[in-house]
């Protein structure tokens, strides 16, 4: 593995952890329990567009586990929701990117929507409370907005980091 790339991936993991922890301090919307903008996904989306799906998975999985470890919520219910959302989001984003139909905005929105679905599925499975699905339409609608926001930020970042990235994009993993 290219050393520059390994370093940048490590930076992305660190930035993702920071964003995730900072975000947990700011309750965004009182309306829907469990709703977050998902700022931490900037790191994952960045890795997807800078390198590829495999690197996104590395960044996101490391970020979730390390953030869980740092906040002391490893393997708690909230952590499980995060993991199940992330698995679906990673799948959706990889598929959306591979299909070649979507721009970064479509990929991000697909990921955000899949994350909501994954969370609701996990809550349903853990608590056996089927009414939780009532939050799904609201979460889905909000995830469109947050997906677009994340894509906007990531696109700007990629543009600004173009020259730094170019030197690390050589060999595959």
């Amino acid at each position: 593995m290219n050393t520059r790339r390994a370093v940048i991936l490590a930076f992305l993991v660190a930035a993702g952890i920071l964003l995730q922890i900072l975000e947990s301090f700011v309750p965004v919307v009182m309306l829907v329990p469990g709703y977050k903008i998902g700022l931490a996904n900037i790191a994952g989306l960045f890795a997807l567009y800078a390198y590829g799906p495999k690197d996104m998975m590395i960044v996101t999985v490391c970020r979730i586990f390390l953030a869980g470890l740092l906040t002391g919520s490893l393997f708690s219910v909230g952590f499980m929701l995060s993991v199940s959302g992330a698995i679906l989001a990673l799948l959706a984003m990889t598929l959306a990117k591979r299909s070649g139909l979507f721009s970064i905005y479509g990929v991000s929105v697909a990921g955000a929507a899949a994350h909501s679905v994954g969370q609701v599925l996990a809550v349903t499975a853990i608590y056996q409370q089927y009414f939780m699905q009532m939050f799904l339409p609201v979460l889905l609608a909000l995830s469109i907005v947050s997906g677009l926001l994340i894509a906007l930020v990531t696109e700007r970042l990629l543009k600004r980091m173009k020259h730094t990235l170019a030197r690390s994009q050589g060999r595959r993993l």
């Binding site: 309750p27 219910v77 721009s103 905005y105 479509g106 608590y127 889905l140």
Partner: protein
Amino acid sequence: MTKWDKVLIVCLMAVSALLIFPILQGQPKASQAVVSVGSEEKMRLNLNQDGTYAVNGRLGPVNIEVQDGSVRVTQENSPHHYCSRQGWVNSTAVPIVCLPNETVIRIQGEPGAEDTVIQ
């Protein structure tokens, strides 16, 4: 933004709009609130009778108040107090959820009303 991005976004909007309709319509008249902690049902509150109650959540006691057919959480232990900030609830479609306490308060319709098959 490509054409497919817009298609995806419009589809998602349509799905969330369609999903919301079956939830908003046909709510039976509320009469009972079910309080559960984890997967266990702790108590059933009669909404026609005012009173205050308490259950033991994961982080301590959760105090519940019933008045005029509505229910609310008055005091509980959690990082953001979402459930007590939510205030009064009288709809069967709106549960009060306190995830840190694993406590859920759900209003049910007339007992048995939902299970009747109308022919």
